[in-house]
């Protein structure tokens, strides 16, 4: 399979382009997304150039997060397959009701008479834009039955998972980390999909398992490289989606390594690491040789100041330290 190096942003753009070409009902709705000449092309330029071929599939709206998500639901119930863009994940709180009460419950409430094949894309993660534009929230959403939560960490995953998310008949929250948009990675020329709920082992190892989500997966891989030089074999697993969650891959790894650290960028309290740690302890208690390590943000909003935000957010050093401490236990 021939591959080329493209950015995470371009990988997403390709997925959108291919899925619009494939299926008439796919359209994109959001703020400042028009990707034609003179268009803003999305706050993070993900819809760039798409208007050339899909002029009438890029629907720019006013600042109406509730209606962006709610209209996507209504359109999906009547046969469309919309992709809604929420500029910053922080703003998803405005659309929370439509996502949680409408999108996630409609298939259930109607006993399957209606389904809601929507993807809500949102940019998460901190890049210095302050407390109301920097959040990564995942546990709120994995808490909701009827909603899938996907966080790609590489261009390859971004493309394959977005394509699958668009084809899936359930509502999917698709979180794109701002620090990843410019990251390059190899992506096949040919079409491919990645099933939702299939974790990826980013690097195999025997001494400790690190389950790292989204942007943290890349950091964990770096840490594994450093530790390998010190003679420690770290297995890094990126679940790629928190719902559905590929527990089997995680459990298998823990049964092999007997030690585990879970990493996510969310605040640590009641973050996704808490749920994964609880599941591991329920299923693999007798295999564990150390308490489960957890790495997350400190319980504070994300400050604008670089020093402060670095202090608040988890980084490679935090992962390194957590791994060392379970090893030393």
């Amino acid at each position: 399979m021939t591959t080329r190096e493209i950015t995470f942003r371009d990988a997403l753009n390709e997925a959108l382009r291919e899925e619009m070409a494939r299926e008439e009902g796919v359209f994109i709705i959001g703020e400042d997304i028009y990707g034609g000449p003179g268009g803003y092309q999305g706050a993070f330029k993900v819809t760039k150039g798409l208007a050339e071929d899909f002029e009438d599939r890029l629907l720019d709206t006013p600042m109406i997060e509730q209606t962006i998500v709610g209209a996507a639901v209504g359109a999906a119930m009547t046969g469309s397959r919309p992709v809604a863009e929420i500029m910053f994940e922080d703003f998803i709180t405005l659309a929370m009701d439509l996502l949680v009460n409408t999108a996630a419950k409609t298939h259930y409430m109607t006993a399957g008479q209606y389904s809601v094949p929507i993807v809500v894309r949102a940019a998460c993660g901190a890049v210095g834009v302050g407390p109301q534009h920097s959040q990564t929230w995942t546990s709120w959403f994995m808490h909701i039955p009827g909603l899938y939560v996907v966080l790609p960490s590489t261009p390859y995953d971004a493309k394959g998972l977005l394509k699958t998310a668009i084809r899936d008949d359930n509502p999917v929250l698709f979180l794109e980390h701002k620090k990843l948009y410019n990251v390059k990675g190899s992506v096949p020329e040919d079409e491919y999909e990645i099933p939702l709920g299939q974790a990826r082992v980013l690097c195999p190892g025997d001494d400790v398992t690190v389950v790292a989500i989204g942007y943290m997966a890349g950091l964990a891989t770096q840490v594994a490289g450093t530790l390998r030089d010190q003679g420690l074999s770290v297995e890094v697993i990126d679940p790629r989606s928190l719902a559905p969650l590929d527990l089997e891959t995680i459990f298998q790894s823990v049964r092999k390594t007997h030690k585990v650290v879970v990493v996510a960028e969310d605040c640590k309290t009641a973050g996704p690491t808490a749920e994964i740690a609880a599941l591991v302890s329920e299923a693999c208690f007798e295999f564990l040789d150390a308490p489960i390590g957890r790495v997350g943000a400190r319980d504070a909003p994300i400050a604008h100041n670089v020093g402060m935000s670095e202090y608040i957010l988890p980084d490679a050093a935090d992962i390194h330290e957590a791994v060392q401490s379970v090893i030393a236990w």
Partner: protein, 324 residues
Amino acid sequence: MTISEELMLQMYRYMVLGRLFEQCAEQLTHRGLIPGAFHTGIGEEATHVGATLALTHKDYIIPTHRGHVADIIKGAEPGRLMAEILGRATGYCGGRGGSVHVADAASNNLGVQAVLSAVYPVAVGAALTQKRANTGRIVLAMFGDGASLMGTFHEGMNLSAIWHLPVVWVCVNNQYAMSTNFAEASAIANVADRASAYNMPGHVVDGNDIMVVYETVREARERALAGEGPTLIECKTYRQGGHSTFDTNPYRPQEEIDAWSKRDPITQFEQRLRERGILDEELITQIADGAQEQVDEAQEFALNSPEPPPEAGVEFVFRSSEVV
């Protein structure tokens, strides 16, 4: 537009059926057979029936939590509707939805939006599909006076107007949102006056006059189909009973209730049809008996329907996806 005698009789029949159906459900609630509360549209039948009859089978509807006859007019079987209200396995949602979440995809009934603010965005999205795929269908979205004061109203009205969406907005202004009086809760007297802010036509109509409701919705439907965009119609009516089966309704003056009871939509229409020689005593009795029979059958079907197995409560959370 002229309304045929046949259609007038149909209007009358559905209003009678709607009232008897809801009275029956109300009684079942009092007998403890319906989990939760039940909301009737008694006194508002002209609005619910008139607006829904203006649709074709192909058109979509988002009804409200009152006026269950709208579901029946659209195509739901009264028995399965009553079964859903009772939470039985044979109901449209297998007992998961209940009266405030009834949906029937086979009759293009998108279902009540029980988080009341959701009606606007969902209707906008449904209308967007119609416009993009040029389906020749419209979306009728109904909501209360209370719901008209929610933020999504603004987003939805504006977006439907700038995109010229084929949606007809019908506000059932029954004067109250639970105990909150519309006159006190709204800065302006008429919901439909807000239409001018969205550059769309607005009509305030007598919601107890079924012919006016029907004609106004019908015209708005034609307008929507012609690509001219949405219309906001406000039907002034009255909730004769309490908010729900458990509301003793202490916050409304008796004189107000009495005054509106004199303007009961069914009695008024009956009088009109008698004057025109379309209805007589015999036909009135025949229609009432026929409707009662339908309601009795629905009740019997529902009461004889099985409870769903408890473990079915976790079915349908996700749709198992096959690649389309």
